[in-house]
């Protein structure tokens, strides 16, 4: 184990996979000569050459679509979206092609490709550059959608994504890039999809989250423990599709109350799906309605104070926990 940043974990995963398998290549806007806007691909052009580190035009549909074609012919492209916001331009390629070609071909092709990039709010990028997309992609069968919350998961899950057979939407949290954590050194360290984990044990309430909000939930849980004597169990979903809610159900069976945390808009969000599933499966165990903590239902504003007001912070999580515990 070594301590690494989330950013370096992603970078290492790509380098190790490119070293391991010559079919792995990476493409994206300004990832080569410019070395990447977040410098995740710095030095890679030099190491692997322009055939494997492809600087593309600013053309997300082109990037995503050509990657689908490459994947169908046996390559394992990793597409870096400068931010996931730009991938909306490639929605047809991702949702109508990558996600479905295996099915409508009757299983004749694999589509081993990864679309990865940062998402989320926090650095005043305003309405078009601050969105999160787990619910958007999570809706579509044929895709895997993951949102790692730690450097170890970032590395292990990216390797799983690259080695898989299906298109993976790999959602990174820009705000976590600098976060450090222990990362196993084993080059074959992978983290399977569809296995959520208990990030913090507790007996009073279950907080369910993923990505950056998972880290926020952990901060809130520590505060609840210290200041209110409430021990929250925090579940890290890690992947949104496939979605593993079994540990969540097991936890709710003990705590009888759940709070689901997501960064952005409440209507039809991931939290809605999770809350509904908990209610369906664990109805008789609930002692309070499942609470959702979400961002405000507005486009992301630019002004710093407004941006802060638009996104969840631990007081909201603490408030929701208090509410489901009938403490207010």
């Amino acid at each position: 184990m070594a301590e690494k940043s989330y950013r370096d974990a992603i970078r290492e995963a790509m380098i190790e996979e490119m070293d391991r398998d010559p079919n792995v290549l990476i493409m994206g806007e300004d990832i080569g000569v410019y070395e990447g806007t977040f410098r995740i691909t710095a030095g890679m052009l030099k190491k692997y050459g322009s055939k494997r580190v492809i600087d593309t035009p600013i053309a997300e549909a082109g990037m995503a679509g050509t990657a689908v074609g490459m994947a169908m012919l046996g390559l394992r492209p990793i597409v870096e979206m400068m931010t996931m916001n730009f991938a909306i331009v490639a929605a047809d390629q991702i949702l109508n092609h990558a996600a479905k070609v295996r099915y409508f071909s009757g299983g004749q092709v694999d589509v081993p490709m990864v679309i990865r990039g940062p998402q989320g709010a926090g650095v005043q990028l305003s309405a078009q550059h601050s969105q999160t997309f787990e619910a958007f992609y999570g809706h579509f069968p044929g895709l895997a959608v993951v949102a790692p919350a730690t450097p170890a998961d970032a590395k292990g899950m990216l390797k799983t994504a690259v080695r898989g057979k299906d298109p993976v939407i790999f959602l990174e949290s820009a705000a976590l890039y600098g976060m450090k954590g222990e990362v196993p050194e084993d080059p074959d360290f992978t983290v399977p999809f569809g296995e959520s984990r208990v990030a913090r044990e507790g007996s009073d309430v279950t907080i369910v989250s993923y990505g950056r909000m998972l880290q926020l939930s952990l901060v809130a849980a520590e505060k609840l423990s210290k200041e209110e004597g409430i021990e929250a169990e925090v579940i890290d979903l890690r992947s949104i599709r496939p979605l593993d809610l079994v540990p969540t159900y097991a936890s709710v069976a003990r705590t009888h109350r759940a709070v689901v945390v997501q960064e952005q808009w409440k209507p039809f969000g991931a939290a809605a799906e999770i809350a509904a599933s908990i209610t369906e499966e664990m109805f008789d165990e609930l002692d309070a309605p499942v609470a959702r903590v979400t961002g405000e239902d507005v486009p992301m504003p630019y002004a710093r104070n407004l941006e802060l007001l638009a996104t969840p912070h631990e007081p909201q999580i603490i408030g929701a926990v208090r509410r489901v515990m009938y403490r207010e």
């Binding site: 082109g62 679509g65 074609g69 898989g164 496939p242």
Partner: protein, 348 residues
Amino acid sequence: MPETKENSVSTIDPAACAPEWTEILKRMIFIRRFEEATEREFRRGKIGGYLHVYIGQEGVASGIITATRDRDVVFSGYRDHAHAILRGTDPNRIMAELFGKASGVSKGKGGSMHLFDVEHGFYGGYGIVGGHLTLAAGAAYALRYQGTDRICVCYFGDGAMNIGSFHEAMNMAGLWGNQGLCPILFVIENNGYAMGTSVERHSALTDLVTRVRAYNIPGEKVDGQDVFAVRGAADRVIGQIRETGKPYCLEAVTYRFSGHGAADILQPYRSKDEVEQHRHRDPIIILRNRLREICGVTDEDVRKMDEEANERVAAAVKFAEESPVPGGTELFTDVVAEHGPRQINQTE
């Protein structure tokens, strides 16, 4: 040029009577009869969804695909039956797919718009106009990346040239072509209409191949009704693509005699006269007349070909009709890789 091929297709001399021409005529007649049958079966309610037939355009696919090798790959839009047939896909399984049967090429999960036969290098079959162009460009890149001399052929209609993915695909193919990394033949099947909107009404510049040249992809127009011209051009440019790894574009000017889809009955966008005019330039008749001259093909020969085609098509319909529908469990297969996401980290 990388690795030599397991099979090679010889170029044909248009002036001489080569046995290939007769073969091509047979195939074109078969495609015509097959498509007529699908329209009939659609009317009978045996085929659901959308059905886009290739009647009138047979020369375009026939002239080019017969010039490709077994291991080359072909992408097409949703008017895709002929392309699959020409790649060697079993017509029984194509008809079964249209009937929504388990024995269909895509197990009855794709339908008319999503024929797919990887074994024969046919990579679909796509329903979103222009969507597959990027896939084909990526596939071409992969073929060269892997060090093969295989090429990719990508068919699309004139209507696909106005959507963003067309431009993104062309530009990237042009860029990669500059590095010799994109061996692809783009084939514009210019049948004059984007569904019901004529070229004059949908493209600011009606000389379509010119628009492709803007992306540093050379190209030329070819008479799509004259299979000699199409095949001649294909022979010439495919070799060049294979050699250089650079893209090329053929604009095949053609005409569809049938409606846009089987439901396009009224066709208010064109007159009956116009269709009649074009029927004089039926690619099958043009080829037949030519073969009469140079090979002495008789009416009796053609009648036999017709008969054979009808028998074969009837057998395909019978096969499709008698095939079972997909089992209910098929609903859930092929959504993701067989072993499911938990095993997603298992590499082969």
